[in-house]
Amino acid sequence: MNDDPTRALLPTGLRDLLPPDAGREADVVAQIMGHFLAQGYARVKPPLTEFESTLLDGAGAATAAQAFRVMDPLSQRMLGLRADMTPQVARIAASRLAGEPRPLRLSYSGEVLRVKGGHLRPERQFLQAGIELIGSDAASADAEVAVLVAEALAALNVPGVSVDLSLPTLVPALLADLGLTGEAAADLRAGLDHKDAARVASLAGTAAPLFTALLAATGPADRALAALAGLPLTAAAGAERDRLAEVVERVRRDAPDLTLTVDPVEYRGFEYHTGAAFTLFSRAGGCELGRGGRYRAGNEPATGATLFLDSILAILPPGLPERRVYVPVGTPRAWAQALRTQGWVTVAGLTPGTDVAAEAKRLNCGHLLAGDSLIEVR
């Protein structure tokens, strides 16, 4: 035995989930996955690690800075541990499921590992559950995905779910249009990301009025879209804006009670999105609960969303406590089985001759099976 307390220390961003949290997480994931499955999203399960060259290809390239690498002694090639599951599902869709009819609806759940934790969420390993809708370019596909994950959260009783829609391609298009590159573009982008109006105005030069107006066009969806409609955008950027308006309209129709905000300059997270994207929030907590948006799965248009289980569990009200009953040694197995079918959790005694009431209490059981009757433990 080694009782050195530092043996319990885990690396930054990693932790043990204990009862009842670990069980609660499994329940919540099952509920979410059931919700996805019931709407035609069939489950896939990619491996934890793949060859670096395939994991970080295509949409996965944006996750490269967040992926741990290990060397595979068998193949002598570098492996990457997944930092996000979307690129893996996109790979499956483009290879093994290339022959399936489109649109292809897939769901998944699994742990991911990241090199760095976030500022609000220091976790480096966490559970994702998500959906991908591959092979459709329609605005109705974007709306379906956003509504589906928002509904999944509402079904879990997450309070006050809101969806913040963004256009990650808009700002890069405007910067390219202005001929801004390198450090100047990065500075301006950082200013936009912090909604720092003063910094944006000083960096944007002649385009300052446009970027200032873009900053002002954030907030409740209707107001933001109206402000965006008045801006002099290029044809490509204008098309993106019209597409966003269409997605908002469809989400509104399917989920009229959902809080919808629009933020045309938001640009963070994995940067593989190629069109309308969104972030999920709750009034109960400051962390993002999930993210989604349009991307390219190989050569196909695709859209999808991922929920972050650690953020969701942090704001969910605790589950109902389990009803535990102590079953003394020697009790017929069928009696305990009968209790389990009624929803009881049975805890079996192992040695005869103990004070069963005291033992029940010590093992955190509210009840005791004495003969064939249940006795409450005080």
């Binding site: 809101s162 912090h194 909604k195 720092d196 003063a198 972030t279 929030f281 009034r283």
Partner: protein
């Protein structure tokens, strides 16, 4: 939905220099603290206001950014020197309040400044409250900055041999002068910003956005 928790709203204000300039704006925006706020003998840290759901907290300028970034306060006022140092992704700075004006500068002893040639530096040792900003600033020109974190009285460091240069806020320059130091380079101009928690703005856009507009009006923009 937990309404009582949702409707609560905390404004974080910095102690000291900026507070005197910020209070007229806070009052003009329509937030009036309880009398204890202006009582120097009060030990309170959290103050009620004329709005039952709005409280004011008074903390160090650096802590304003931290409270707002983590969502413990929804709105705050702090200088962009603090925002540059922390670079919290969860903070928005939608409004330059135009108060608390000063600059973040490099200073060194007057006699060193006369013979110094910054082009020859590969490494400098600097006493500062802003190690991140300082490191970034010097790294951008290929110089490694070894920062010694101090929380005040930076001007003492060169004369006592702790290091030869400092990075600190300068407003009139009289403190530098009194300590035989010379401002050799301005890293950034500093003013105070209205800062907002990202998730609060996303989930309560009308309410939080409304307060930003009231502060904007109070600034006369």
């Amino acid at each position: 939905m937990n309404q009582s928790n949702n409707s609560k709203f905390v404004l974080a204000l910095p102690k000291g220099r900026i507070l005197d300039e910020a209070m007229p704006l806070v009052r003009a925006a329509g937030i009036l603290p309880e009398p204890a706020f202006d009582d120097p003998k009060s030990r309170l840290l959290r103050f009620a206001t004329n709005h039952p759901h709005i409280d004011i907290i008074r903390v160090r300028s650096f802590d304003v950014a931290t409270f707002v970034a983590f969502g413990a306060a929804q709105i705050g006022i702090c200088g962009n020197d603090v925002l540059m140092e922390f670079d919290y992704p969860e903070l928005y700075a939608p409004l330059d309040l135009g108060i608390g004006g000063c600059r973040l500068s490099v200073a060194e002893p007057v006699d060193l400044a006369e013979i110094d040639d910054p082009r020859r530096w590969s490494h400098v040792r600097i006493a500062t409250k802003y190690p991140e900003v300082t490191r970034r600033h010097f790294a951008a020109r290929g110089v490694q900055a070894e920062c010694i974190k101090l929380n005040g009285a930076m001007e003492l460091a060169p004369s006592l041999g702790l290091c030869s240069r400092i990075v600190d806020l300068v407003s009139t320059g009289s403190t530098l002068k009194a300590n035989g130091l010379k401002e050799v380079e301005v890293i950034a101009q500093v003013t105070s910003r209205l800062i907002v928690n990202r998730a609060a703005l996303k989930t309560r856009p009308d309410e939080i956005g409304g307060w930003v507009e009231r502060f904007r009006a109070a600034c006369g923009e």
